[in-house]
């Protein structure tokens, strides 16, 4: 049963990612990206990463996706229904990315991966919190400064008349 759900989620994620990449309507692509991000969050839950799955839902779907949809709305004339866009050089791009995919899958399937025995934790939140405030305190603070800088930079960049 769990196997079935896993493969369903995998195919669902990849199919919606295909829609993101190939659809000509930009808004449809954004909605398909929503389903892809949901599928990735479900994969995180399969990987016992409950906190990361929650962060994925909140930051990606609640933040980045809304930003992207706002970007689409602000840069297109909604009334004239010209939200479409075209792909260029699909042939050569497809060849390169399929070649990359074949290469990666060959490497993945040929490598003898060492898998350690691990046990499902009750929750990862406690340990992640302790790690963030001890071992990774400096990167944590640095990333918060970077977020502040990006916030101010984005506000300055998108101001009228700069």
């Amino acid at each position: 049963m769990a196997d079935l759900v896993f493969w369903f989620i995998a195919i669902f994620t990849i199919a919606s990612a295909l829609v993101v990449v190939l659809n000509n309507q930009l808004l449809y692509s954004a909605v398909a990206l929503l389903f892809t991000l949901f599928g990735v969050a479900a994969l995180y839950i399969f990987l016992w990463a409950d906190f990361i799955a929650g962060v994925q839902l909140i930051v990606y779907i609640g933040g980045i996706l809304v930003l992207i949809i706002f970007g689409i709305m602000l840069t297109n004339r909604i009334s004239s229904v010209r939200l479409s866009q075209t792909n260029v050089q699909q042939g050569i791009g497809g060849v390169v990315s399929i070649w990359l995919l074949i290469l990666l899958s060959l490497i993945i399937s040929k490598t003898p991966w060492l898998e350690k025995q691990s046990f499902e934790p009750v929750s990862t939140v406690h340990d992640i919190g302790i790690l963030l405030l001890t071992k990774y305190l400096l990167p944590f603070e640095a990333v918060s400064l970077l977020l502040l800088g990006a916030l101010i930079g984005a506000a300055v960049l998108s101001r009228e008349g700069t």
Binding site: V20, S118, P121
Partner: protein, 101 residues
Amino acid sequence: MDQLSNYLLIAAVLFSLGVFAVMTRRNGIAVLMGVELMLNAANINFVAFSRFGGMNLDGHIFSLFVIVLAAAEAAVALAIVINIYNNLNTINIDDASELKN
């Protein structure tokens, strides 16, 4: 389902699709979506290696940082795209070639 290579294969497919989007799409926001797909693929790899490497949480921390950086990147990239739209009235990134030559 309990195999590392399954997750790595899914991540490889997502990454190739992201590369395809970045190479072929000409709308700035669509290119940004391709970048998001690639970041997600990398995140799946981090979490999968963490899960099959004895549930070491360092991979989780790293993917948290990747998510935060993706948020910062999306905010700045969209500000740039909106600025390009205001100045050139298009977001086709082939037309935004003022710095060329």
